[in-house]
């Protein structure tokens, strides 16, 4: 009969319509627990995550723009991990990283410190190559996506710097892995010395 297909299709939408109400009632009490449920296989009914009140869980590997990691010294000084080796600038596909190497004014020899470090966030394609190939774990990809602004986004060293604790916070597993590898390396070095 003509129209059966239509009715069949509409039954799906009707079902969904009803579900959206039953689900709403279910979540009335524990409103803010629903993010996990709505990103799971059982998600049905209303599907919305109410940003900015709620936020999706950001997975550890998520990458937005890069930032530079520094270790906090005992007296609060910033020990920048970056040695300005330039690997990130070479690996960067759109070439959005600019690095000026520090040169010792006395000897003229390059020092392992960036004098300047720029990332043009308006060119950056968030590919993550810089973080992937950095041998010093000095540049990492940020999780903070709320970076919109009223002007263009050229980031210099001061803006890019973030403490290692911030890094440990957003990527705990990677951080633990890297720290373990570093500790192992240090132990091996110490053993070799002894």
């Amino acid at each position: 009969m003509y129209g059966i297909g239509l009715i069949k299709g509409l039954s799906v939408t009707l079902n969904r319509f009803v579900e959206s109400y039953t689900e709403d009632i279910r979540w009335l009490v524990k409103r803010y627990a629903k993010v996990d449920f709505r990103s799971s296989k059982d998600a049905k009914g209303t599907f919305t995550i109410e940003y900015p009140e709620q936020q999706l869980n950001i997975p550890e590997e998520f990458r937005f723009t890069p930032f530079l990691v520094y270790d906090e010294g005992e007296n609060g000084e910033k020990n920048i991990r970056c040695t300005s080796c330039g690997i990130c600038a070479k690996a960067c596909p759109p070439q959005c990283i600019w690095i000026v190497r520090t040169v010792d004014p006395a000897t003229g020899r390059p020092q392992p410190q960036p004098a300047e470090f720029y990332i043009d966030a308006d060119i950056c394609m968030n590919c993550g190559f810089c973080a992937e190939f950095c041998p010093f774990d000095a540049i990492k990809m940020n999780h903070d996506f709320e970076q919109s602004s009223y002007t263009r986004n050229l980031k210099n060293k001061e803006i890019l710097l973030q403490p290692a604790s911030y890094y440990a916070n957003i990527r705990p597993l990677n951080y633990a892995k890297e720290e373990a590898a570093r500790a192992e390396k240090a132990a091996a070095k110490a053993a070799a010395k002894a």
């Binding site: 069949k8 590997e61 070479k90 690996a91 960067c92 600019w98 968030n126 993550g128």
Partner: protein, 581 residues
């Protein structure tokens, strides 16, 4: 490279001794045909030897040997590897090569592209206009000696970035302070604008009739796009209408021409991977696969078992997600606003969550590397994939099927519309579901298996009416087959490493050429890569399914109503990142 040296490939050099010679440059294969004989031999190839499917036409510029080359990759629709044949012209304007459009009409847009970007003329092409750039643009940008305004160096990495990389906007270095370039002495005030649309409009078939009552009927010219909600991006079509009926149609593109190929030739091999993500931005997992495949062939690199399975898993997931979006958008175009699209996006979001957790980004995954993938799937994501594949997706696909497939309005808008005969499908180099809806069982996963596809049990869905409804149904079946492949892959996936060798950002690729192609959700996606042994590709050409499939749109549309154009175009499943590159 290896695949093109199979024994079933014709030895053209023996057959046509006086006009063909084998390409004996190291790493190269195929045959070089004298351009005077190209047309005749090509005709023989199709009629005598069964190479009925011309997949890819690429131009290559060799200033050192003062020549330009046109490379053709032809296939048999019954399967098997490519026959590569080339023709060379001296690099002096005007260059001319015979057009093969009367043998394989599918070369239409590709030849226009080569004319536009390389300046090689195709004698006998009826409508040789610029395609990606506009009529009147200065120069042919893919030539090696053509420099863009922001040109810095021949190859990346650029020396200005390190160690003395004081930030400077590219504008500050460019001659005109912007991304523009003019010939010295150019005076914009004295320049007389030529109408860039004139050639386009004159290429359309127009008519004027007078009926018995003496009422004159004139054609109606309509521009759809580039800003039009149902052209799926910045696509433009110019149509001539007789009432509501389409008399003539020309696709106009280039509104998203982002110079992938020129940038790709400046990039290192690795740097191209994130750029491939931006070709077909629905299926970045698949786009990168084709490119990795091509470069891995040049490198002679084996991919670990586990990585091959992971590639299949994500490849098939993006296929499902791509087809679902197509259905949603198609319904949007047909007037069923939003509901199906919203349903489709729900499933897509769940898959993108997994992509994001594994690769780091929802859409631009940048997940493939030469010799594997960048990282393993974490256990939580694996669990999620299993839940989706075994529980949710089969249920949801069934629901989608129920929602749409039998809807009478939908069926009446699709049945019998946009017919393209199987012969035409092949002639127009149509690939993907459109080809299979015409009853031609051509799927690269079977015709020339790559990855580990030869280990899975799956059918190639076929339909025979070659209309819109069949193209839709083929896609539904394909989703079901994808789920089947996924279930096998998840069952069989071995443990082990996911990347051969140590990851490195500097890769030297041995000299040679290769054509890596995969069955992307939209059709055949091929990468023609030429390396000269340096760190960046000498030629990086992308044969995208969307671009080549658009060739057949005119043929499908003529004679139908203007409202059907939207549906037909939607069913060809174009994505502008691929059409314009």
């Amino acid at each position: 490279m290896d695949s093109t040296k199979n024994t079933d490939v014709l030895d053209l050099a023996n057959l046509y001794k006086d006009s063909v010679k084998a390409d004996d440059r190291p790493g190269f294969s195929g045959f070089i045909i004298a351009k005077e004989k190209l047309f005749d031999i090509a005709k023989d190839l199709r009629d005598k030897y069964g190479y009925d499917y011309l997949s890819c036409v690429s131009g290559v510029d060799y200033p050192e040997t003062n020549s330009m080359e046109v490379v053709y990759h032809a296939y048999r629709s019954s399967g098997g590897s490519a026959l590569v044949f080339k023709t060379q012209v001296e690099r002096v304007d005007p260059m001319e090569v015979p057009s093969l459009i009367s043998i394989w009409p599918g070369v239409d847009l590709q030849e226009r592209e080569i004319w536009d970007l390389f300046g090689i003329k195709f004698a006998g092409h009826p409508d040789l206009r610029r395609i990606l750039m506009w009529e009147g643009f200065e120069g042919h940008p893919m030539r090696k000696d053509w420099k863009e305004a922001f040109y810095e160096e021949e190859a990346k990495p650029l020396k200005s970035r390190w160690p003395d990389g004081n930030h400077k906007y590219a504008e500050a270095k460019a001659a005109y302070g912007d991304n523009i370039n003019f010939e010295a002495g150019f005076d914009p005030e004295k320049w007389t604008p030529t109408d860039p649309e004139e050639a386009l409009y004159s290429a359309l078939k127009k008519y004027q009739t007078e009926d018995v009552d003496g009422i004159k009927t004139d054609h109606l010219l309509i521009n759809m796009g580039p800003q039009h909600p149902s052209t799926h991006g910045v696509f433009r079509a110019v149509v001539i209408l007789d009432g509501e009926e389409i008399v003539s149609l020309k696709p106009v593109m280039g509104y998203l021409h982002r110079n992938h190929e020129k940038i790709g030739e400046r990039n290192t091999f690795l740097q191209n991977i994130p750029f491939t993500d931006r070709l077909d931005y629905f299926n970045s997992m698949y786009s990168a696969w084709g490119y990795s495949l091509a470069v891995e062939r040049l490198l002679g690199l084996a991919v670990p078992e586990r990585a091959e399975y992971i590639r299949v898993i994500f490849g098939e997931m993006s296929r499902i997600q791509n087809h679902l979006i197509l259905f949603g958008m198609l319904w949007n175009d047909l007037g069923a606003y939003f509901t199906p699209a919203l349903y489709a996006f729900e499933e897509r979001e769940l898959m993108l969550d997994i992509f994001e957790a594994v690769s780091g980004s929802r859409m631009m995954c940048n997940y493939h590397r030469f010799g594997g993938v960048v990282r393993d799937i974490d256990p939580a994501s694996m669990q999620k994939i299993k839940e989706l594949v075994y529980e949710r997706l089969p249920r949801k696909i069934e629901e989608f099927d129920r929602l749409l497939s039998e809807n009478e309005i939908f069926v009446s808008r699709m049945k019998g519309i946009g017919y393209l005969s199987p012969e035409d499908c092949l002639a127009y180099s149509v690939s993907g579901p459109t080809l299979r809806a015409a009853g031609i069982p051509y799927d690269i996963r079977r015709a020339e298996p790559y990855g580990v596809y030869d280990r899975f049990e799956f059918d190639i869905p076929l339909r025979y009416n070659s209309d819109l409804l069949d193209r839709y149904l083929v896609r539904i079946d394909e989703i079901k087959q994808s789920v089947r492949i996924l279930q096998q892959a998840l069952r069989d996936i071995p443990e082990g490493p996911v990347l051969t060798g140590k990851p490195s950002y500097q890769i030297k690729v041995p000299a040679g050429e290769t054509y890596g192609r995969v069955e992307a959700p939209k059709g055949e996606l091929g990468y023609y890569v030429v390396s000269n042994g340096k760190g960046n590709p000498y030629r990086y050409k992308i044969r995208t399914p969307s671009f080549v499939n658009v060739t057949s749109v005119e043929k499908m549309c003529v004679g139908t109503k203007i409202a059907d154009f939207v549906t037909i175009l939607g069913m060809v499943d174009i994505v502008l990142g691929e059409v314009d590159r």
